[in-house]
Every structure is written in structure tokens, then in C-alpha cells.
Symmetry: C2
Subunit: 332 residues, 2 copies
């Protein structure tokens, strides 16, 4: 491992000068001659220096570890988020401590643990039902100088030192509507999903603009494939009202419906078009393949770490909104 000491020896300066050149946030008023800076940077590069964050934060009275709060679920997008975070963390030599959970009590334990260990910052993706206590915990943490990046905060928490990365569900829903409209759908069906209302709102808004309406089913449990579909088909025997467009705010429900309809001899992709949300694992492997919305969670993960690291070193980081993308397969 290359240390400041070795660089200092090789460059002919003291360790302190080398530190001031290489430190991500040197103390205020640190002045270095431009020539010295260049020389030391060159030597560091040549020797392959990688900072020892552990020692850096030890001195500052803390630990470089970044706490990551992640939903305790097997969904594909959490995996993508984790991957993005890990990738950037690796590049920047930040160790990570993951906390898998999906409860408000767990979130509280997580925050307290983060404070107790004097970790350098927090990335949080609290994917459970929003609760005022979250906002309080975030305020408490940031109020004491903590830095946090929150995924899908949706403007519910605000605090200095808090930066949000949201993924735009509303426009994702709109993309599905546009696709179904383009494919010539006349009637639309959608399953309620209270966890992600914006996906529906985006979908319905786009449909309403065209003067068409959406039938809404309370839950996937009440989706009686044979009944609903035979009803819909018979109502429109003249075939003029085909295809019917179905949108569910999660792939899980879309896959249930696809496999239920397949058993009823419904031609999915022709008479009935189905689109889901999330591009979960296996969504590409049902027949017909599921048209769905892919969320840029890898990007969210990478950006969250970049922003957090900037904030940790006293720079500003702006919140951002990421736009999802429609993946077209055979189902719609």
C-alpha cells in the first residue's frame, strides 16, 4: 500500500504538504505552490496512490463507512441500486455497511447505529409506507451534521444536508399509456396499487387527455380472468374495440395476469396488450415477453454515492429526478 510517507520521500516534501495536495478537503487556508502541487500529484499517480480512508476519517474522529438502508425484498431493482452503490464505492474506496429492512423501527435503529459508529454518511431507500417519523429521524440526523442521500424521497423529507434522487413514476406511467395508445387500444384496464399511485396517475392522465377512460379493478385478487375478459370481449364483439390495454403498476401483477389469460385462450399481444412496471427478473422470460418500464436504479445507486461523497467533503450536491424507460416486448 502506497502511503503519504512514501510519496513525501519520493517527492522531497514533508508528509503534511503531500496531505494538503492529495486530501479531498484540506483544511481552510492551506496554500500550496502550483508547481509543488503538480509535482506531488505526478508522483502520487506514478506510485499508484489510493487514499486510506480509514486513517483519514480516524483522524477526523469518525469512520469512512457509509451506511446504506435498503428494502428487505428480493426485487430486482434493489439489487441494481446496491450494485450501483457498490461500484462507485469501490472506485472511491468507501467501505459500506448495509442495513436490510423495511420497517420504521428498523430505520430508527439504522440511524442510531450510524450516529453511534460515526459513519461518514447515509444512503437511504425507505421503500415502506411513508411515516412522519421518517421525516423526524432525517431531520434529527441531518441536524447533527449528518449527510444523507435519499432515494425516492418524493419531496416528503427536507433538511440541510439531505439530497434526493427520485425516479419519475408519473412519466413512467405516461410512457405505458402512450405505447398502448400507439398500438391502437380503445379500452383500458388497470389494477389499483396504492404503493405506487403516481404510476397510475401518469397512466390515467395520458389516457384521459385523449377522451378515453380507464376501468379500474381494486386489486389483482379480484381480477377474475375468465369473467373479466369474456365480458370485455363480448361487449365488443364487433372487434372494433380491440385490442384492450391492461396496465399494472408492478410486473408481479402483470405476470399473474399474463399467465392467467394464457390459460383462457386470450391472444396476448394481439387482442389484449399487457404492460407492467419494474422490469423484474423473469419478466423477459414469460411468453409473451412482458413490456414494462425499467427504472434506472443502477444510475441512482452510482449517483447517490457520488453526491454523498461530495457532501461529506463539504461540497454541495443537487437533488435530481431520473426518467425511466419503456422496454417493449411482445406483450404490448
Amino acid at each position: 500500500m502506497v502511503t503519504l510517507r512514501e510519496i513525501a520521500a519520493a517527492a522531497g516534501y514533508s508528509i503534511a504538504v503531500v496531505s494538503r495536495v492529495l486530501s479531498p478537503c484540506p483544511h481552510a487556508g492551506a496554500r500550496i505552490a502550483e508547481k509543488t502541487r503538480e509535482h506531488i500529484s505526478d508522483v502520487a499517480l506514478r506510485l499508484g496512490y489510493r487514499p486510506n480512508r480509514v486513517a483519514e476519517f480516524l483522524k477526523r474522529g469518525g469512520s469512512p463507512v457509509i451506511g446504506v438502508y435498503i428494502p428487505d425484498s428480493a426485487e430486482t431493482h434493489s439489487g441494481e441500486l446496491v450494485k450501483g452503490i457498490c461500484l462507485e464505492a469501490g472506485l472511491n474506496s468507501f467501505p459500506l455497511a448495509f442495513f436490510y429492512d423495511a420497517t420504521i423501527d428498523g430505520f430508527q435503529r439504522f440511524i442510531l447505529e450510524t450516529i453511534n459508529f460515526r459513519n461518514s454518511g447515509v444512503i437511504a431507500f425507505p421503500a415502506f409506507q411513508f411515516d412522519e417519523r421518517i421525516a423526524e429521524l432525517v431531520e434529527m440526523y441531518c441536524g447533527h451534521g449528518g449527510r444523507m442521500v435519499m432515494i425516492n424521497n418524493l419531496e416528503r423529507c427536507t433538511a440541510p444536508g439531505l439530497c434526493s434522487i427520485d425516479i419519475d413514476d408519473f412519466s413512467g406511467g405516461g410512457m405505458v399509456a402512450e405505447r398502448l395508445l400507439t398500438r391502437g387500444c380503445r379500452r383500458f384496464l388497470t389494477i389499483c396499487n396504492h404503493t405506487f399511485p403516481a404510476r397510475h396517475e401518469g397512466f390515467c392522465r395520458k389516457i384521459e387527455i385523449t377522451g378515453k377512460t380507464c376501468e379500474i379493478i381494486a386489486s389483482v385478487k379480484e381480477f377474475d380472468a375468465e369473467k373479466v375478459i369474456s365480458m370485455l370481449l363480448s361487449m365488443h364483439q364487433n372487434k372494433n374495440n380491440l385490442p384492450i390495454g391492461i396496465f399494472t403498476a408492478s410486473d408481479l401483477e402483470a405476470v399473474e395476469i399474463i399467465t392467467m389469460l394464457a390459460k383462457c385462450n386470450v391472444k396476448i399481444g394481439r387482442d389484449v396488450l399487457i404492460a407492467g412496471y419494474g422490469n423484474q427478473y423473469l419478466a423477459a422470460h414469460v411468453h409473451p415477453g412482458l413490456t414494462t418500464v425499467v427504472q434506472p436504479f443502477l444510475t441512482a445507486g452510482r449517483n447517490s454515492l457520488t453526491k454523498l461523497s461530495a457532501m461529506i467533503y463539504g461540497k454541495d450536491a443537487e437533488s435530481e429526478k431520473l426518467i425511466p424507460e419503456l422496454i417493449i416486448r411482445e406483450s404490448a
Copy 2:
């Protein structure tokens, strides 16, 4: 954060004595009076002491960070493994550095990086095609005092300081065979999968013991649902040979086949029984639900960290083989 200094003050001993009591591997020849040990342990417990691994390893000339090499895929089981590792790492205050990759060159970079940062140890799940270079890298790393836990090593690498956690694919395949036999299957079909040969071997062995045989299809691409099934069904018009049992070594293929067959009016779960392997996300949500083998990757993750931590502190850790479990749903 409670430090040794505070405990020393509260207990009325020097920091050195407290360190000897609380350190996970005190230097050889450290003697402490039993009464002192108890007293200091009590105080530490009362104050809620959690060791500062960063400082501990700084002194020892390294970093507490554990490097984790994980396949760069969205499969559910990687997520479970990561979760298990994170859980134990959190309990033991070990920071983690994940390296998502699926190439031998990446594995080499990972090992070199681990050495460069003087990380405390490695958990590796190299899920790509086995290569002699892996064995060499492992030998090199462990030869220089590195500690490693390998997931699904399958006895391919050996080195002092290496401990393996394998999941028994052979018995997993056997479980599926037993289920299909119990359900009265007379004929069996299986899709080749060269990545996981043991799953097939376990399956076919159990079938062969009963004197029955397995038809083998080279790949899922060549599974022409209509052709294969109409052939099979017509061959056994008398219905005496129903149900037909199909086993694929991955859920992905099983889901493809289920959704293809559904379109052909085949009664899955009655005339044709299908089982997959892996219990991937969505496998529970196709219709009919997929009978499959769930691998104990959460346990593997937890145990890998426990074993690694033991080895890091100079204790021995034994390799182990974990047994998967059959999840019965409607498809078989």
C-alpha cells in the same frame, strides 16, 4: 461512541488491560485476572461498547474491510447471499467492499485490490466457468496469509486459509425427481444445462434407480412446445403414461416452458408437471405457481461471514455443505 478509554476510566484500569480483555485476539501471553476480566466485561456491556474495527486494524497495519466478489447478475440468489453477508457484517461491525463481476480478469483485479488495501479477508462467489487461474489466484492470496471463504467452490480450489460453503445441487436435483415420482410421473423430460450439471445428475440418478428413463433436450431453444407435447401426448393416448414430468435446472427455463405450454392448452400441474431450480423472483407469481428448489443462500451469506471472521482472528473454520429445499407449488 464508547471507547476503551471510557471503559478504562469507568472500570479503574488502564486502556491496555481493557484492550486485552475486549480484543477478539489479544497478543500471545496476555494474562488477566479472572476477576478483572469479569469486571471489565461487565462495564463494557453496561456502557454498550462496540469495537472500533477501523482503529483495531489500523494498528495491525490493515483495514477491517471485507472484500466480497459477487456475480454481476440480477438473479435472486445473489441478492440473498448479499443480504446474509450484510446482516452478519452489521452485527460484527465489519465494513464491506463489494465487487460485482463475472470474469476471470475481474476476479484477478479484485484479489490484487484486496491485497493493495490490506483488507482483512475475502468472500468470493465466482459463478463463472471454472478456470485454473482462479485456483492460482486463490493459492497466491491465501499463500500470503489471506483468508477466504468461497461459495460453491465444489472442491476445485484448496489452500490453507480457504474455507468453502457449497450448496448441494446433486441432492436438490434428487428432490425434484422424488417429487415427480411421488406424483406418479411415468415419463421424464429434462433440458440440458451445462452450467449446473450436478442438478441434472442428481435428478437423472434418482429416476434411473426406478428403472425409468429421461428424455434429454439439448437446450430450451429447441423446446418446440407444440411439437414436443403433441408428440408426447399422442404417444401415450391411453393416458396411462401421464403425467409427464419436466425438470429444468433453472427457473428461467421452467417459466419459459410454462408460459409456452399454457398457450397450447396443456394442463400444467395435471397432465404435465414442471419443476425448476432456484426460486427466482416471480417464480411464485406465474400461473400455475412454479414448484422449484430454493437454495439457502441467506444462510450461506451469514455463515460465510461468521467463518471468515473466525479465520481473521486466527481460529479455524470448517467447510460445510448446505442442503437445498423443495418448494411445492401448483406446477408439480
